[in-house]
Amino acid sequence: MSTTAPAEAPVRTPPLTRRRAHRPATRRPLTGLLFVAPTAVVVAGLFLAPLGILVYMSFTDWPLLGSPTPNGLDNYRQLGDDDQFTGAITFTLLYTAITTVVLFAVAFVLVAISNSPRRGARFYRTAYFLPYVVGTAAASSMWWVDSHDELGVFNRLLQAVGLIDRPIGLLATPGKALGTVIALVVWKFIGFQVIVLLVGLQSIPGEYYEAAMVDGASVWQRLRYVTFPGLKPTLALLTVLSVTGSLLAFDQFFVLTHGGPDNSTVTVVLALYNKAFQSYRLGNAAAEAVVLLVALIILNVVQLRLLRSRDREE
């Protein structure tokens, strides 16, 4: 009995919970719907209606000046021939991968420093977080000046410590420009990453570590079997945020590199912006926006599914 009961329980539970979940919906009183109506109207007005217009625009030739004319699937067909857009997809994926990995790698080191009980840990936590409160566009403007060969401090610092002899043009080549943007993003967002990881770490009960130590677990084993499993939901959240944020990157590239040099740092959103506000082809831009939206929905659904399946496993 005692062995079979737990085995049967999970088999019966799902239909029960499903029924329970459905019943209240059918009995939902009309007054409840009235209460949510204002929010529903706001959502419909501010999200669904513009979305509908966007989708309609994506099927028209919509110049900035003049009248729009429907053109079927032309805008979507042209996406494939648009070198800037296809190049932007590749670049954005590369940027997302590098940024996510670098952000986590640096965050782990900083968490290790600021989570220790030694003196000054609080100071470090505050220091890491400070850049996060600066707006991305403002931070990018600062870095634009600081990266300048003559006006900026970065080259002077590197010269002072003897790493370089003369200014090296931190935005002059595709590689250096990407490196400079990633350095900016790490500087700007690492504080948030560190704080969230610290909260995650501190939510792991100390008893787990004590029990592990009693069992003779080494430092590495405690990290592997206690810390990482305990941090899983936090890591999943940060990955979703970092990936989505990087795929939508715009401000830092718009201000710092203008997509250059030689169009090497054009992200998907910057390409979309260019299409709308440089080329004034709003229909093509709308098609790009729809493609980006669908891609993000798919990506988030996949990520959330993975997250939920992990939860169920646990």
């Binding site: 000046l65 009248s67 729009p68 800037q84 043009g169 260019n274």
Partner: protein, 432 residues
Amino acid sequence: MAPGLPRHRAASALAAVTVALAMTACGGGSDNSSGSGNPDDGSQLTMWVRSATDQFSQRLVDEYNASHKNHISLTIIPNDNYLTKVGAAAGSHTLPDILASDVVYTPNYTKQGLFQDLTEEIKSLPFYSSIAKSHLDVATYQGKIYAVPHKLDSSVLFYNKDLFRKAGLDPEKPPKNFAEILDYARKITALGNGITGFDIAGSCGGCGVYTLFPYAWAAGVEPLPDNGTKVNINNDTFKQIFGLYRQLTEEKLVASSDKTQDGSTWPNNFLAGKVGMLALGSPIVGALQQQKIFEWGVTPLMAPDGSDTATFIGGDVAGISVSSKHKAQAWDFLKWTLEENQQVEIIAKNGDLPGRTDLSGNKYTAADPRTKLIADGLAKGHTPFALPFGDLFNNPNGPWVETIRGAIYGPDLDKALAEGQEKIQKGLDAAS
């Protein structure tokens, strides 16, 4: 939005006909085009300009408001947002009474019918024949004139006479051809101490058009022939032009930061006295006159062999938008800005170029041989025309910036020009 525009155009056409009939009834031909008599009747008018002309436009508007019953309220819009703002306003029929426009974008506006026809008014002006032709040309569409010059600027080669002296060069003999530019740049850069002989905006499309096209025009080459439907940059003249800039870069006769110069800080090094020669335009004359660091000189932009000179005439035109219900009053302001007193006492007095060729010898411009040289150079002026000009040439991610960078910094100059020619032509074909 779609059906609204034609209806609106029909309404504007009707309004234009009404105004024309009223003018005829009044006897026609007179400067006072208002059907009700004096157009200075205390109307409230609106005007939009881009930030590049902010102080210039403000001075004119302030003076007009102070001396007239009409009142113009001026809105200055950041350069980069101007087209977007105008486009949105055109769609919602909320354009201001008076709309100024960068000359290179004007063909888009006239083609889309954003301006009211001013042909009769302009042609009836006693000084019609001396209004800057380059600006009237870009404001003309299918034989009708839609706008008048608002601000004129012109590209030239500035040089630092103090640095010329220090480098053992004659400050009264500016370079006359590419060989001399290179030679002088070498001698000035040799002074050391962070001084460079020349200055290039390596990531700025608009700067490239403004200062590189004149070299080609002077050599008899039109970069945008056939009314802007063709591009012609894959030729020996452009190879010489980019060849010079390439050599200046390779020999480090320009600052290392030039490669990423997007135009925003372009004149700074020259104004600080650290650059020997700089191809730029009349808008920095005011700053040059005010600085006390060095003595400056100016010379026209020349063909590679020095056989002739040319200039890019840039700036803005101003017209009356189709949304305006105050055509007579708005025209009163535009006409007033073109009159001699305003052209001389407001525009020329502040170091800007008058919009009329008969006034280029005015007392302020003529007082300084340097501003006189710039004003006289307008006779050899050109303004390029192409419908997708902003997208192809000014866009930092557009094909022209790519061409400039490939030609100056890339491995193969010939290939960069051939590819640029192809990409820009593709853009022109798509727009026509």
